[in-house]
């Protein structure tokens, strides 16, 4: 599993990085979303992988060591929502820039 996830994170990152280096705003947005998937998975993976051990305790106190690490999960949870907000903001900025400059190039002028 670890190897699969590591490769997945790598592919997501590579696709995302490729896209954020592109000149069109829409490409950059898709790229940022892909990078944020990769980053979320990476942060989550820092708590190591576990199957069938969600961080749900009971009153009877199952042994804490047998559960998955809740800290990265909490971090990623908010990161998911925030990354939605950032995508929305980027999108609106790009729409406004498009309306103002007449192009969807990231620099506001067609250089290519």
């Amino acid at each position: 599993m670890e190897a699969v996830l590591a490769i997945a994170i790598g592919v997501l990152t590579a696709s995302g990085v490729w896209l954020i280096l592109r000149p069109r705003t829409f490409q950059v947005i898709i790229g940022l979303s892909l990078v944020s998937y990769a980053v979320n998975l990476f942060i989550y993976a820092m708590g190591r992988l576990r199957v069938d051990a969600p961080a749900l305790t009971g009153a009877e106190q199952a042994g804490a060591a047998s559960l998955s690490d809740p800290v990265p999960q909490a971090l990623v949870l908010t990161a998911i929502v925030i990354s939605f907000a950032m995508t929305a903001l980027m999108l609106v900025v790009l729409l406004a820039a498009r309306g103002l400059t007449g192009t969807d190039h990231v620099d506001g002028e067609d250089g290519e």
Partner: protein
């Protein structure tokens, strides 16, 4: 004492809050505050008169040896009195000077703040504090000079004044820091006690130079004098204040204050004396050629400041006495002269000396007052200016250092004074005598009583001091002098008559030369439009050249080292990140760890095979096939969502899944406004163009970044988890937070403050999106209705019995019903997610997004108009309410004496449902829930609204494409 300092600032704030038309209230407030401060300062007089300094400390940054310190001694008292008393008169004068259409409360607000800063400057017992108030005076003088901001000359004058004096303030700060380094303390008493140490130090010269630059810029010494005449754009009360008791005197004050520790060396003597001398001559010379009354007074101020600086530079105690005395005298006669000029300007509508004449007939009172004040400026006996001038001449005749300056000083002094007589006579004679003026903008007449009163008070002071100096100014001057010179206070006499002495002879000579000079040159002087021998704008022009050089230099540097293009910046960023990630590998080598891995499930591998293909496909297609790229991206998102479920993170999976939906809708809404792009638009070349080269390079970077992070995460995942805080959270989630879902407990309880920050970010983004789109102007080609709608409408148009829009109305007819019926179910599900979140996967974030999805379905089914006709969608209120609830829940803990955001929990028996755990954290989660719905719904609906808005360029007929049909 602190009250004296704080009152003007408090008054400034209060005046700023007054309505713009309430000029009487603002003037009354300002006057009352000034008077109150004068009164309380007067009450402190007995304590100061004894010769001791009153100190009052407030601890500020004790670790740095910085305390807020008020220190009141003789010199300070006299200066503070000057600031406040003249400030009061200026307020009174300004009440009648300012026009009704000006926003007068703002004027008084600035004036009070300026008064407070000046007061703070003189009362500072700590050098850093002094510099702080020094900068404040620069700032508020900027606002005052630029008060008539519709006037170009006022704006540029204010800007020049700010740049010059603030740059000087910078130098002063450096100088003060150097002094602090020598002495080891910024406390004024400590500094004053360390005179020998400072003068003997190797840092003395740099400290001296920096402090002098600061003082010279502020008190308009040559070559920094040019800002003062340009500050004439200020309202006349401001000029009267800046030129007399404040601003320019701040520089003089610092020179006097530090005189005991800095003066007396050769460097001091050379720099200060020559600067003073140059300023004295340049100011007096330029003053006689001015045609503008205020310009004449401005250059005369420069000249008199030069005189004071010259006296301080001489370094003898008697010269210092003369300097302090002349500072006081200059303040009184210059303030009254400016006010008189203001009256002339106010009543005649012009300040041009060439147009004015014979005003004595129309305004005898003002004319008399101006004459007396001008006579004081010229140094006529029986007026205060005469006394300090005699002292100056006596000092000029003394031999101080035996240099060439000493030899020449009597002649130069007499020349400068003769010039001063000349311009004073010219001012009076041309303005008030001769034939009646013709063609003035206004019919001149006498000023109202209250406007004259401040001038009368000041002129009376000139007279009284001039006639009975030892009785009136004597004790105050003595107090000030003693606080500066201490035991070195020399014997001096304030008598009017010392017999026939050489100073008197020089004085008489100056008066005669000045008068005769005017008689000879008066007509020729009127012909000048620029000052001969020195180009009138020289100072300003070189200032602007320097400024332009700095700006263009900065631009060139930026062009050389920076780029405005996003791609190179991002490229650099990624490359640096890759290199930083590479560094530990190079140092320690790479090897995977030995933690036993989780066995690979073929299903998992298959999912990620698809996921990876999706990601690569999205990267491939994002340029020309946006829609496909979007769907492929969502595919990759779903793969990561599945792996969260698989790997024991149900909360993440839930949230990711929901957010995925919302994000897709969001981007779909945005697609409509992007330009079309086809592969044919690109020039097809097979050659190795820079374009292809760059793509190859970027591909290399991307692969390197991906491979790096894959190796890194594999290395981490195969190593055992070190001890972290996770154990604490797992153990305490239930006993301490009352929840079984540890992730949720962390979010709403342990780390609730972080979550509060995060929902605030979310709310801010929502509002930002809203405000950005309020003025959204779409590109022209995106304005038409989408192609699909045009086809539908064309079909309707062609067909018999169909109205345009019928097909559109039938669109999604069956899914619409399903969506409508599904909405309540989704709503219930959202609430369920919210309530169970503390114990089972769910919580405010997931529930909020679910709720938004329910709303979205409604929008898709019925279109923006349809939904909003039936539902009140008020996302902004939801955001506000959510934030309020979250903060109120947190603040509720205070009521029970716990820190912010402490949570409490218990169980409640609710009928039918049974025993339900209730934690205050649930309430917090409700806040999160509301903010999430509000913000996401706000973003989506605002974006959807763009389609039903009608841009001005668009014809009305093909409007109304609804959001749902995109």
């Amino acid at each position: 004492m602190w009250a004296i300092l704080l009152l003007p600032f408090a008054g400034s704030l209060a005046a700023a809050l007054l309505p713009t038309t309430s000029r009487n209230a603002a003037a009354l407030l300002a006057g009352a505050i000034a008077l109150l401060c004068v009164g309380s300062l007067a009450m402190l007089y007995p304590a100061v008169a004894g010769g001791d300094a009153i100190r009052s400390e407030l601890e500020w940054m004790p670790a740095f040896g910085l305390d807020l310190l008020i220190r009141l001694d003789g010199l300070t008292w006299v200066f503070a009195f000057l600031v406040l008393a003249i400030g009061f008169l200026v307020v009174l004068y300004a009440r009648y000077y300012m026009a009704t259409e000006d926003p007068v409360p703002r004027f008084f607000s600035f004036l009070l703040a300026f008064m407070g800063s000046m007061l703070g400057l003189v009362l500072s017992g700590n050098l850093i504090q002094l510099v702080f108030f020094w900068e404040l005076t620069s700032l508020f003088s900027f606002l005052l000079i630029g008060y008539w901001h519709h006037n170009e000359s006022a704006r540029s004058g204010a800007r020049i004044a700010l740049l010059v004096t603030a740059a000087g303030g910078m130098c002063l700060l450096v100088g003060v820091l150097l002094i602090g380094r020598i002495v080891g303390s910024y406390d004024l008493d400590a500094v004053l006690a360390a005179a020998d140490r400072i003068k003997g130090s190797a840092l003395y010269l740099p400290a001296l130079i920096f402090i002098l630059i600061g003082a010279f810029t502020k008190s308009a010494q040559f070559p920094f004098h040019f800002w003062l005449p340009h500050a004439m754009g200020a309202p006349t009360p401001v000029s009267a204040y800046l030129h007399s008791a404040t601003m320019v005197k701040a520089g003089i004050f610092v020179l006097i204050r530090l005189w005991p520790v800095l003066a007396g060396t050769d460097a001091w003597y050379l720099i200060v004396t020559t600067t003073g001398l140059a300023t004295l001559l340049v100011g007096a010379w330029a003053a006689i050629f001015q045609q503008d009354l205020k310009g004449l007074l401005a250059y005369s101020t420069i000249s008199h400041l030069g005189l004071i600086t010259l006296l301080l530079g001489l370094g003898s105690p008697l010269a210092a006495v003369a300097a302090i005395f002349h500072t006081l005298n200059h303040a009184t006669f210059k303030a009254s002269l400016f006010m008189a000029v203001g009256i002339v300007d106010h009543e005649t509508g012009t300040r041009d000396l060439r147009r004015l004449s014979g005003l004595y007939r129309f305004m005898p009172f003002t004319a008399t007052l101006a004459m007396v004040a001008a006579a004081a400026m010229a140094g006529v006996p029986l007026l205060n200016g005469f006394l300090s001038k005699e002292m100056f001449l006596a000092e000029a005749l003394e031999n101080h250092r035996g240099t060439i300056i000493d030899e020449a000083l009597p002649f130069i002094a007499t020349t400068a004074l003769a010039l001063s007589v000349l311009y004073s006579v010219r001012f009076i004679h041309q303005g008030f005598f001769g034939p009646a003026p013709t063609g003035l903008p206004r019919e001149p007449h006498e000023a109202p009583f209250w406007m004259r009163l401040p001038v009368e008070v000041l002129v009376l002071a000139c007279l009284v001091v001039g006639i009975m100096p030892s009785v009136t100014i004597g004790p105050f001057l003595h107090m000030a002098v003693e606080s500066v010179l201490g035991d070195a206070t020399p014997r001096y006499s304030l008598a009017i008559w010392h017999g026939f002495t050489r100073p008197l002879a020089l004085s008489v000579a100056a008066l005669i030369f000045g008068g005769v000079g005017y008689a000879i040159f008066r007509d020729r002087l009127n012909a000048f439009t620029a000052v001969p021998l020195m180009g009138r704008l020289k100072g300003r022009r070189s200032f602007e050249v320097v400024l332009a050089l700095i700006v263009s230099g900065a631009r060139r540097l930026l062009a050389l080292t920076g780029t405005g293009k996003l791609q190179p910046q991002l490229r650099l960023l990624v490359i640096i990140a890759c290199l930083a990630g590479l560094l530990p590998f190079l140092r320690y080598g790479y090897e995977p760890g030995d933690r036993p891995g989780v066995l690979v499930d073929p299903g998992f591998a298959l999912i990620w095979l698809v996921g990876c293909l999706c990601a690569i496909g999205a990267a491939w297609q994002a340029k020309f096939h946006r829609y496909a790229a979007l769907i492929l991206m969502a595919g990759a998102g779903l793969a990561s969502c599945v792996s969260f479920v698989w790997l024991s993170a149900p909360d993440l999976a839930l949230t990711q899944l929901l957010v995925e939906g919302v994000t897709t809708v969001l981007l779909l809404l945005g697609l409509r406004w992007l330009p079309q792009r086809h592969p044919e638009m690109l020039p097809r070349t097979r050659r190795l163009s820079p374009y292809r080269l760059r793509r190859g390079f970027d591909l290399g970077i991307a692969i390197a970044a991906g491979a790096g992070i894959a190796l890194l995460s594999y290395a981490v995942m195969t190593r055992p988890l070190p001890n972290s805080i996770a154990g604490f959270f797992l153990e305490n989630a239930y006993p301490g937070g009352g929840g079984k879902n540890v992730v949720n407990v962390i979010l709403v309880d342990f780390r609730a403050f972080d979550t509060l920050g995060e929902i605030t970010v979310l709310a801010t983004v929502g509002l930002t999106v809203f405000s950005l789109l309020r003025r959204f102007r779409p590109a022209v080609e995106s304005v038409r209705a989408p192609e699909q709608q045009r086809v539908q409408n064309a079909f309707d148009d062609r067909s018999e019995g169909r109205e345009v829009g019928d097909t559109r109305a039938d669109y999604l007819a069956i899914p619409r019903i399903i969506m409508q019926w599904l909405s309540p179910v989704i709503l219930v599900f959202a609430v369920y997610l919210l309530v169970r979140g503390h114990d089972l996967p769910g919580g405010g974030f997931a529930a909020g997004v679910t709720m938004t999805l329910a709303l979205l379905l409604q929008y898709m089914a019925f279109g923006t108009r349809g939904v909003e006709a039936r539902l009140r969608v008020r996302p902004m209120s939801w955001v506000g309410l959510g934030l309020l609830i979250a903060v109120a829940t947190g603040a509720g803990a205070w009521l029970f004496g716990y820190p912010f955001l402490t949570s409490a929990f218990g169980y409640a028996d609710i009928l039918v449902i049974g025993k339900v755990p209730l934690a205050s954290a649930l309430l917090f989660d409700v806040g999160v829930f509301l903010v999430v719905i509000g913000a996401t719904a706000l973003i989506l609906t605002v974006l959807a609204h763009q389609s039903i808005r009608t841009p001005l360029t668009r014809p009305r007929s093909d409007a109304e494409p609804e959001a749902g049909e995109l």
